[in-house]
Amino acid sequence: MYRYTYDEIADKYIDTIYRLALSRTKSHSYAEDITQDVFVKLMSANKKFETEEHLKAWLLRVTINLTKDLFASSWYKKSAELDEDVSYTPEEKSDVYYAVMNLPQKYRTVIHLHYYEGYSVDEIAKIVNATSGTVKSQLHRARQMLKDFMEEDETVGR
């Protein structure tokens, strides 16, 4: 049984959760809300974790579920158009960042889990509760879209 303290987990995984939430919501304020809610769930859940990896996967899954709840809420649907969109962030970002942020949300998630968190297709499938085939297909489609975006940018930039 994996033993942990809340403070240790907060220190270690707050950025991980925040980045995934930001990648999914494209909004700093929503990402902050989701991150807090994930830790609220951790604190209130009566969960046993076999390993730290198990705990991390649970945190990521809860992050995804909470963002799904957010997207499904009528409150979000009504207010989404007023919210900030980090694809238009004033900070200097690379073409890669803008290209990824232009992807549909489901593609951003698999890209993030694969390229940033380093999960395999099978591991991502378990976290997002989808089949490996679906994840593989989403990754393939996302790569294709990224390639198109970036080629388009290069053409425009010339």
Binding site: Y6, F39, M43, S44, A45, E53, V96
Partner: protein, 277 residues
Amino acid sequence: MEDKEFREQYKKEFDAICASDGLKSAVKNLKPQKPRKVVTPFKATIGTVAAAIMIFAAVSDYSFEKDTSGVISEKVVSTPLPETEFVIVEKKPEGKTTESPQTTQKPVKANEAVIPPSVNVAEDSKTVQTQSPEINEADTGIMPLNEDGPAPRMIGGDEYVAPTVGKWTLEQYYEYLGVNISQKIPGQYTGSDTFEFEIGTDGIPLDDTAVLNFITANGTTLRVTVSKHVLFDSAVSGTVSEAGNGYNAYKISGGVYYNIYAVNTTKDALTQIISSL
């Protein structure tokens, strides 16, 4: 661009993104209320009754020794039983006599003898430990959920048994909370009609938090996060502060935790809403 180059650039971009200091502080400060002194529902009831008798005696100038009249006083003051109490249950681990008793905390009604399963949080270190659940659904008083259990899955090479998922209607959720929030919030409910919860092996939701959305006639949108778990220090209960495009308010009332995010309103209006909870 090669896959490896893309990965490096993507990592570099996201490595630079970190949670703000404010968020880190907020997450660190999330903690349950400090446990009160050890008290059982029976003791709490006895204590309340005793207090009521003492108050009664004080206001009526009643002497316990000289009860001869049969008529005590016209002034009657009663102390109502608290609807919800946090009950700390001391429990010795079975078969072990050397360990100190474990303490669990969960809101339960004062007149219900319930031994709640819970996350054990040591106040000094916030060490989260788990305890074998030893109650069933009937013990919790929570109505059964429509179960739809997913199959065990493997994550990171370790077996992960996904919790069962169950659904509650809005009415069932209000019944569980013990309060109809739609009657408390001055607005039209616009949220979901059903709520899914992951249910632990003990038959109760691992997390009972739900997000309820309302819109008022003035166009104020209210996102009300509710739970029976106490999720913040009671010191912030009743406070309203600026947040994002609106205001955020916290309230603990009747054993229910409220976190309200309101847009298109004033601080005073939100203060008035939480004061009515």
